[in-house]
Symmetry: C2
């Protein structure tokens, strides 16, 4: 190799090295540069620098994240609805009456639209029947078995692969900066806990969600908790601040959501003193994920509605609204 | 100084140095050597040594502690009853009817025995009225103000000084060994949180307790939670495993209590797989603290009962029962 080539090779090497360093130093590589990413990085800087007037001590760095539509895909149905549907199919042989009884009959035919037509009451019944009647440990195992095999109907990927890569980076970035991340979801607390630690790095005690009633009993001389078909707590809308207070006991300083179900959580976060951060994910990428919600002039969906009123409130309140289409370089880890 | 004296001085110094090292290395200096201390140290060793067949990974090292009578003194009344009583006196001018209405009238006269005679219903009413009607943040401030001044009627010490020194050492010892300590108390969750971090090193999100219902509302444009005079959850007896499952989502591997209210928590802890540890504090030191409970042939008390049946169950189940009189060198930090 000639000297000139050696120098060139060294230069190329140095540039590649510098580029890799720069990449390694960017904690949010799947986020495009822009106001959204900038608002996150600036917030984290100002609450973590000891000399900052907005400095927040580590124990108070609480961040709360909605799950469906914020951390993972909630279309064409929330993942837990697929779980409930699969449970109906599994349990059907023990329930011959379901063949003609709604919403079970429609679920067994794969007609989810008809099943949902029964309204909240039908959905609640579907969830209670499929989520109760076993111990908490038995249910944990059922969820673990299901989540390691269940796949998204459109992409064919595991549901746990349908998590948003930019949000996984955000969770890690906050954690590296002394934040304690909590999930605060309308979804079932015991549906999320069995896999949240592995997928999000969020341990069971940092998962807040809706729950059913449990009952203590001795079974073969061993203490167990039995899951009853009765709603205990609905962790949605006004329920989110209530659940946060119940489980965490401090106001978050940062909150992340994507729908009207998250409005009160963001309001509650913002009403605390000192620096605060609120963010909403707008699903506007029909090509790479889904586009939905009235704020985009698109039809509403049963869950995960981003209404025009919510959009207006976000603008007025200074909440960051991120466009999945424009703010995210890639959405899923499996995206090129 | 002669050579012989120099050597003697050096020897004395070396012995003192060794003694100090030994003391510094003993993580439980206020515990007398004996089976109780030994059982704790052996349990911690076997679950933390990587080569141990009983090794437990750090995230699963969950320890739960009852509060009243386990971490701090609950006699002559649980501390929260003194708080409720002081609140009645503070609020009395706004409630002239309390002068003749029980249990308030008796509380205002300082006759707690008569106040308690109204039974659970009267106690519940007393707690609801004194603990509700303000926002969660206002209540937090009320508790903070009270706890920094309120004193134990017998010792004249702050209630926060009436915490058991051996248990404070145990909390620190477990924490140093990768455990996450939780309080799981029948007491009010929002009565304990404002001071538990400073006193026990246990942050608000690791406090589980009884709670009243809260309601989300906007007040002067700010999101707040209003405390309603309605019981939400009773974290006692069967409620303890239910509260543990709700808040923590894993079975503890170690649990500490002192009364029948803790029985189910210990049963639930023990029923998990792998190494487990359960401990009950027996209040048998009338000279340095209080002696009470049927297991000692002494009268029962309203709260904190250590029955003969519980004692027998502890023996049968291999739970460690510690004698405050024999196992603890000192009880309070202010003891000589």
């Amino acid at each position: 190799m000639k000297t000139k080539n050696l120098v060139a090779a060294a230069l190329v090497g140095a540039v590649a090295f510098t580029f890799n360093i720069a990449r390694a130093q960017d904690p949010l590589p799947s986020w495009n540069d822009g106001p959204a990413k900038k608002s996150i990085v600036e917030f984290v800087a100002k609450v973590t620098k000891p000399a900052s007037p907005d400095f927040v001590p580590v124990p108070e760095r609480i961040a709360t994240f909605d799950n469906d539509g914020t951390l993972w895909c909630e279309q064409p149905l929330p993942v837990q609805a697929f779980f409930a549907s699969d449970r109906v199919k599994t349990l059907a042989p023990q329930h011959p009456e379901w063949k003609t009884k709604e919403p079970f009959a429609s679920v067994l035919k794969g007609d989810y639209k008809a099943a949902l037509a029964g309204g909240d009451h039908a959905i609640l019944e579907l969830f209670m029947v499929t989520h109760a009647g076993m111990t908490t440990e038995e249910f944990e195992q059922i969820v673990k078995d299901w989540i390691t095999t269940a796949k998204h109907p459109k992409t064919g990927k595991l549901f746990t692969e349908m998590t948003y890569q930019p949000m996984l980076e955000l969770l890690a970035y906050l954690r590296a900066n002394g934040f304690k991340n909590f999930i605060v979801s309308g979804g079932g607390i015991e549906f999320m806990r069995p896999w949240a630690e592995q997928v999000y790095g969020i341990p069971p005690e940092q998962v807040v969600g809706s729950s059913i009633t449990t009952q203590f009993e001795m079974r073969n001389g061993k203490a167990v908790l039995l899951r009853l078909p009765k709603l205990n707590f609905n962790d949605d809308k006004e329920g989110k601040p209530i659940g946060i207070n119940q489980h965490i006991g401090r106001r978050p300083i940062a909150a992340f959501g994507n729908s009207t179900g998250d409005k009160e959580m963001l309001e509650y976060t913002q009403a605390g003193s000192g620096a605060r951060f609120e963010l909403l994910v707008l699903h506007d990428d029909g090509a790479r994920e889904y586009a939905y919600g009235p704020a985009l002039g698109l039809p509403n969906v049963k869950l995960g509605a981003f209404t025009q009123a919510l959009y207006d409130q976000a603008q007025k309140s200074g909440w960051t609204v991120i466009s999945m289409k424009n703010d995210w370089k890639r959405i899923f880890a499996f995206d090129k």
